[in-house]
Subunit: 387 residues, 2 copies
Amino acid sequence: MSEELRLVTCTAPVNIAVIKYWGKRDEKLILPINDSISVTLSSEQMHAKTTVTASSTFLEDKIWLNKELQASSSRLSSCLEEVRAKARQLEAPAVNPDWKVRICSENNFPTAAGLASSAAGYACLVSALCQLYGIKGDTSILARRGSGSACRSVYGGFVHWKMGERADGEDSRAFQLHPACHWPEMRVLICVASDTRKKTSSSTGMKNSVQTSQLLKYRAEEIVPKRTLEMIEAIKEKDFSKFAQITIKDSNQFHAVCQDTYPPCVYLNPTSHQVSSLVHQINNFSGRFVATYTFDAGPNACIFLMEKDVPKVLGLLKYFFAEGDEFVRGEELPMEEATEAETSKYSVDRIAGGLKYVICTRPGEGPEVLAADQHLLNNQGEPKFMQ
Amino acid sequence: MSEELRLVTCTAPVNIAVIKYWGKRDEKLILPINDSISVTLSSEQMHAKTTVTASSTFLEDKIWLNKELQASSSRLSSCLEEVRAKARQLEAPAVNPDWKVRICSENNFPTAAGLASSAAGYACLVSALCQLYGIKGDTSILARRGSGSACRSVYGGFVHWKMGERADGEDSRAFQLHPACHWPEMRVLICVASDTRKKTSSSTGMKNSVQTSQLLKYRAEEIVPKRTLEMIEAIKEKDFSKFAQITIKDSNQFHAVCQDTYPPCVYLNPTSHQVSSLVHQINNFSGRFVATYTFDAGPNACIFLMEKDVPKVLGLLKYFFAEGDEFVRGEELPMEEATEAETSKYSVDRIAGGLKYVICTRPGEGPEVLAADQHLLNNQGEPKFMQ
């Protein structure tokens, strides 16, 4: 008897933290030592896409990530088991939680290069599985079990991950502050650095920081709580100057904590520092906050700015850091070639090829369920790429 | 009538802080926000040398630094005026403090490249002037008025600058913990990075940090006091493991504070980070603390280690960071060429020419008074280099 498989395909977006998550108080449950706030980016330019299915005929769970069959990882299994446990609590789960699953996932952007791929990946996995079983309500707690920052990718727009207080982590979840349409003028430039090797993984880095950095403890307890409230206010009021300044300070403080870690973890490269310096100088010369930057655990700058300022900033980024053509990718936005009169004002080291390219995007919505023609698995639960 | 000029020539050493001074509570009096501890380096390899004289016939103060006549600077004048004020309190100053002075000073190492040149320079100036006027006792308070860290260069060996409590700064002075002979096995490798441009001066950087870094306040108030006591104990016990670990942590925390500053100040370059990483790996592979590093406001690493470990560490530094010959300067110490079996263990980016050279030296004594044949000024008070 050929059973009809129930297939679900979702996309989930990347999110960029403007108040950083760095440090767990519980490694197993992935409970953070402070709140964080992020902006979810449009799935148009960057997303994870995942198809899931389950069947009584499958003998084992199988997971393909970017076309490679994955060995079981404790993170992946623990995340999957959490979703199944939740499904078993349902009166009538849409599919049997005891059945083995097939999961096929891909990102349309480089993995593990500091582009928040695991956040999108786990948010997508959890969203698809919840859809498969018929789990309703908040999915951020489940996504958190895969990768902490994934919990923020289950909501669109501006998102607040509250650290919570409970030992079981049931109050450590994400909340949407505002949907993406709240700040329609906002644009985002993801500056992809050429040297994207990640020397210390985020998990290892933050574990070392928690164990060795005295500054991290102070940051988490004394600085972030106030800064989080200020950031919520800045977003609510669409006060870009305030948003920009807090974003820069929090990114730099996170990298300060990395430097204070024993041994130090260094994620920024010379191009990163020059991009930062360029943004400070643009703001100084303009007499207002034109742009703001933030760096995750990697050298790629993420620049937030208003649509009207994109042409000028893109032009300066190209002048100082581009090498070949095809420098600008993603959403088509106008660029203004920088004039010599303009560039000569800047005290920035020109690093040709320091950036590989810039992805233009904007804030966007949370995970989406796609139509059947988008499935990555066929009706036998085999990946279509293998056909 | 041709008056006989009284000429005094001194040298003063460089010092390297192992508990860092970063931040003033009083900009004018140069009072720090925390204690610091340093090691004075031997004057054999690196020193400032200064000749001073005074005469009723001079119409103005004149100062030559590294063969260039200096425009009056507020630091220089304030330091000079402090010494004169002190001389006026003497019952019988050796020369009249109201007379104008001639000062000629030179360093035998690059100025303003993060090699503590101003510390040696001001310590030397003050030592020579005190000798000229006949001022006895502690000179560190006077040296502090020129450049904060200069107060530590008026003593040899291991030195503690106590921040003090008084508003007038009269208790903010240096004390010798131990003379250089206390730890005779200690050697010092000054790793001079190729890119030695200093982007933000120490004065500007620390001022920005005090104004904008919340982490600095916590560091100064909560972390440094305990760390200072631990470092004093480590030096007293000649416990290199403890000395090494605190030195690394304090250097990294200082650079963390720089990164937390708004706008961030970045003093380390990619070679700096690779030198740090090499030291951590040498220690890990050896199963003990072989070496420790510290960076001031520049990219040059200062490595402390025991004499027996110098050959191996020099060999690895040469393998990873040298380009041409003449890599090793200063005191002649044996080097062991690194074998491939050894170097292949390391995960360090090889940066040929990342270091220009390494100066080998050791802890040394404080300022010295030199004989008449060493004067930089002639009997008319004119610089000899002008003759």
